[in-house]
Symmetry: D2
Subunit: 342 residues, 4 copies
């Protein structure tokens, strides 16, 4: 039997990526697509690369009959999912791809997003959507909060290390290289081709990036005490991909062993042989995360590099992985798409 | 039941693309991979993006037990498939991705490739592999000769028009924009990133490109008289994709109608509404070909633009499409992968 | 003695390119920079790559004392130069980089730009700014109308041929590959990096591009009868550069000889040896135009390929070249900057 | 009077960049160009973007009459400059762009480059070519050893801090993003466009990069005790540019003040206002280095980001800057070319 999904906010890149993945998913069918400003348009007008698919036209959210929907993917701008969830029928499961339910503490939401939480009473139901670490809770959840794409990349590199005693929790430096699709399809001068091509530049420097809220929450929870990392993203002229270089104080071989053990049975997270570093081009278009570990000539230094496709494993692929669990399907269903290279 | 395929010459980009497609093909299993110079290496060493797959290691061709193989994909350099085919068991079906069997007349092969045909006695068995136009013959073939990637792109634009009387056969000009992966993974100075990035330049100008042999053969056959087109490819800084702008003398609306009718039932060839032009980015990573038709302020002029992914629909996707037919499988099996955008 | 220039509309790419060129120009000094929306900002805030220069801050146009200005470069949006020119002191010379004075016939301006000409009484004073062909008139002009960037690229390829009798004037097809900076710095969804990267697509197809107005005017004037060309631009993922492939009916060797002779003494226009095609990467950042000519296996066919940097030779470099003439300076002053490669 | 320069190894990217810069240098003329394998070719055959220049043809080094040469730029592969210098007339000044004379201690040369030093008796004459810090010695030198491009980028960020007491010398982490032209024009599979486009990946990880020899030498000298930094370069799909993100332990405002003071009078090194980070695209094609400093929400953390064009300020521009000093010319002569953007 096919399960029916609605995608809200389907006119952005994460919406299109959900449709791309679900196009060959054997069990989930796209039953509704919403996009307020583009309501009325056929999906192929907005994303011509998907014109081979028979898809419902874009409608306004209010036009969707949610009683016929099993699962909703919310790919809405920040702040719009919180008021929405309470209005959906109880029978509908929800994967939110935005930031609205990622932070357990509404005060943290206010701090990082500048908005009062509009549904603090629902927040406790939300499960943090980093599948590999919240699998059991996700299976039973009605509402899953997808992680930030940077947050996913770095957590795959660091989570198994936080409680391990292998690294210095007070000296974690993460330097990220970010493909531009993470900025979405909205119009900004610095996202024009002529501005980004042939350029690399940092942004949100100095501890201002919103995904720090997720790091603080998750790493502190794991460590049982406050942990803050230093984190600087840099835009690179690549469509898809995040590559996080994490500089740690700890023994590299032990770190490698811990990561290898942690992900030994994971279908989507691959730890490379010691000393090899991953490449962004090797995960694009897929739900895989590649992790490499190396030491340094300076003893006690470890570099962990993690890379994934921000639109897929960092967002829409993760969302489908979570949806599979919530719907009782095999976790990898529809997600074994190989990366595309070159 | 699963059918077993061998890929010969698996260390090039078309080899990797075959593996990518077959990774999620429900009926064809990769049983052997050969690459002479890289024999002994694991496939993930050569193409780390495919490291999640359980694949046989690369071997030398001689090490393969072809009696256990149902189908061979030959992705070998020019000239190596001709002597090989006669040595394979009769039970093995063959899809050749190279040029060795594309030209029916060995004299034409000598003319365009500078080599004597090494298996002229086998040539008559070869079916030209443009699936949409040789479907019935491909179903019964033992040997299918995959088309050139440029040859596929332009033929999708022009074949339905050649015998139609709608266009002037003596005045066809095709200007192509070609992604760099068509040049393969071999080392050439002009294929370095620093040489191709930020550049566009024509090559093989003046009627020297080898794919002209295919155009001459196919269009003359269709027309029942010699037809020669003018054809200039240009390298563009894109990994995948060919976009062919075909300048024709004829009425655009009639041309559009003829193409729309010709491809009405095709799963992979899409004709856009009149006046719209296709974009390379809308077919990358997929087996689709998008075609657009427009007229001009000068009456009697038609522009047909056709685009496909050279590694997929132009080569490895086409090969799997043909293999499906040869093996009695549904033609689209494993090939409905959606394009990846952005 | 230094001459003083003002740049109006200095916050766009052509404005920045003017500043880049004038930065090392020995005789022209930048005395004023205007940009209405960004007035009050330092130029380095808008274009940080020019922060090493001591430049006046951006002001509103009304704040400029034009009595102290020798020459004005107008890099304003279409329609704004026409009403302005009449308000400037007679002593000020003007190079307009926009389209406002390119078309001699106000009816043509209305046709292609959709606006009534606001200064038809001034139009007759304007000299068309393709320096190599209007040199003497430019020397004496008060107002020079810079050409469109596509218009320049194609005219360099074709002008010496139009009156030569060497080619069929009724069958000229120009296929252009266009870098994205030609679209300027304004915000459009299709100009985002993620939309243009890895893509090639035609636009303004079917005879709708505004630069056709210039072609019609100039080629008809040269031929002494109406001439219309077929012209299709394609966006390529390159910052700077236009490469025009012009398909002609005529003898290639004769065409090559005519172009070689026409440009023999030109400092900025280079005709390559017969059979060689130019590359966009070989002119970027410079005021040069490279032209190549080849024949075809089909006799009577000629391909002329012309390439230049749209921001430099196609716009701001051309503007400085014209300014040099208007100010009595050597034509090449400040313009012998070598292309930057890679 | 014009001074005469020879460029040895002129067929690589740094050779071409020297020619580009010298093309508009008012005092230095290119009198000879050598490239062993391409001897006999015209320079425009090797670098068509420079075809507008009247240049001597490429010859073998032995064919050059060095008695007529004032200055030699050696852009040779590692190991070839050492035996050469002793053979040149004493009257010839030499700027070596390679690594042969960068390391004062021949044992360090052996360690990092795997070669015995072939001219240890000449090594003491060599002055390390980071102009801003060795200006006086360079003025009087016969032999200047240009720095590594990464070495230059990071030293501009860190040198004023090493002896300042402002930062912890035992905890310096430098994460670099490197354009591909630094790898030169030699053929390597991982430098093909299709391999580098859409990719970011680290290399020479774990303290193996050769430029560490320069860091060790210079920083230890400045500190008066051994200093080792952690340094990881990453290839980004950009032609030119290095952006170094340097993670330091120290107070950001004090660091910013120290850097601002250090470079206050430098024509080519610019420190941005506190809190702003530089962009690679803002220095391309120029001899400028932009430096930004920011703090972090974690107190005591400082991020210094430095960017320059590896071919220009990181190599050939630096070489001309040094040549100017050695020849008694103004240091900035010919080098005030503005960056090219976009």
């Amino acid at each position: 039997m096919t399960l029916k999904a609605a995608i809200l906010g389907a006119s952005g890149y994460t919406g299109a990526e959900l449709v791309r993945i679900l196009a060959t998913h054997p069990r989930i069918e796209i039953a509704a697509l919403s996009a307020d400003r583009k309501a009325g348009q056929g999906y192929a007008e907005v994303f011509p690369h998907l014109r081979h698919l028979k898809l419902p036209a874009l409608v306004r959210m209010e036009e969707i009959d949610f009683s016929a929907i099993d699962l909703v993917f919310c790919a809405l701008p920040h702040g719009l999912s919180q008021p929405l969830v309470g209005q959906l029928p109880e029978s509908v499961k929800i994967v939110d791809l935005g930031a609205d339910f990622r932070l357990r503490d509404p005060a943290e939401y206010l701090k990082w997003y500048g908005l009062d939480h509009a549904a603090p009473e629902i927040q406790p139901q939300a499960v943090y959507g980093l599948t590999e670490f919240y699998r059991d809770q996700i299976r039973g959840a009605r509402l899953v909060a997808g992680t930030g794409c940077n947050a996913a990349t770095v957590q795959f590199a660091l989570r198994p290390l936080i409680g391990s005693g292998l690294i210095d929790l007070d000296d974690i430096i993460c330097d990220l290289k970010n493909g531009v699709s993470g900025a979405g399809r909205s119009l900004k001068e610095n996202m024009l081709f002529a501005e980004r091509s042939e350029d690399v530049a940092g942004y949100s420097q100095g501890g201002k990036h919103r995904h720090l809220g997720e790091f603080d929450q998750e790493f502190s929870l794991l460590a049982g005490r406050p942990v803050q990392i230093q984190f600087t993203p840099h835009l690179v002229p690549v469509n898809r991909g995040i590559l996080a270089s994490c500089y740690l104080k700890g023994e590299a071989q032990a770190v490698h062993a811990a990561l290898t053990a942690a992900y030994a049975d994971e279908p989507f997270v691959v730890v490379l042989p010691f000393g090899q570093l991953p490449a962004m081009a090797h995960v694009q278009g897929s739900n895989f995360c590649h992790i490499g570990v190396t030491g340094d000539r300076i003893s006690g230094r470890t570099l962990v590099v993690s890379t994934l496709d921000n639109l897929c494993k960092g967002s829409s692929g993760q969302a489908v992985q979570n949806a599979n669990l919530m719907l009782g399907l095999p976790e990898t269903e529809g997600l074994m798409l190989a990366p595309i290279f070159p």
